[in-house]
């Protein structure tokens, strides 16, 4: 059972917000967090549960997605990713926020939200996209698709997963 975790106890960076929770997540809350009088730009990405996916070449109706997380490591990875975004890749970023929901996420609702603010538009937009890519590559969260036709629910694997390409050895 996933407990609701608001943020990592080990992080003290006030410009970063990390959230892993079974509750519905709110874009407005993350945008309010990254909002700043110094910012000219706020970029966001929301991943929502679709009502269908292609599985083995066949489009299947999806009734819900459920997510599982290795919570302490996922939160630590999120903080690492936000820190790397800010210090290494997108230095003008002002604030960053990421929220990921675990447990069941019904069709149409958000599973992940990322928000970034910066003075000009490029860093906010690029940081948002980069954080999503890193999340898909390495954060220990797993998604299970539940189908409308009653067939067996399957654990998905991100093509971007960093140890999937060559396979582990």
């Amino acid at each position: 059972m996933q407990t609701s975790v608001a943020s990592s106890a080990t992080s003290t960076n006030p410009t970063h917000h990390v959230e892993l929770t079974t509750d519905p997540i709110s874009l407005a809350a993350l945008v309010d967090f990254v909002r700043s009088d110094e910012a000219g730009a706020i970029a966001t990405f929301s991943g929502t549960t679709r009502n269908s996916f292609i599985v083995s070449g066949v489009r299947k109706s999806v009734t819900e997605l459920s997510y599982e997380a290795y919570a302490p490591m996922a939160i630590a990875q999120f903080h690492t990713i936000l820190n790397e975004a800010q210090t290494t890749h997108f230095p003008t970023v002002i604030k960053l926020a990421v929220a990921h929901r675990t447990g069941v996420v019904p069709v149409g609702q958000e599973s992940v939200i990322i928000a970034a603010s910066s003075p000009g538009r490029k860093d906010a937009q690029n940081a948002t996209a980069w954080i999503l890519d890193e999340l898909k590559r390495r954060v220990p969260i797993w998604k299970k698709e539940h189908y409308g036709d009653g067939s067996v629910a399957t654990w998905k694997e991100n093509g971007e997963c960093s140890w999937l390409a060559g396979g582990p050895h």
Partner: protein
Amino acid sequence: MAKNFQVLYFASARDATLAREETLSIPDDCHTLPVPQLIRNLTARHPGLQAVFKSAILAINNQYVDHAGRELDGGRMVEVKPGDEVAVIPPVSGG
């Protein structure tokens, strides 16, 4: 004195073991447990993990580690020590 460590199972690994976690011990005659041996032990306990390990890696104390025991981030070789938290990590699908 038992030299225990935790093993956590996620996603398809949990389906294979029907367990979220278990407590194992490092053999009496060793200080640490090499990762290849850990994987053999886990697969012996739970034969369903053999398929899982075709694509899963491990995390030891929140650091990803490959089947040889090499940390993905930095390349340091590690082995399992008493008190460690080990997790079986199938390919992720967050986002």
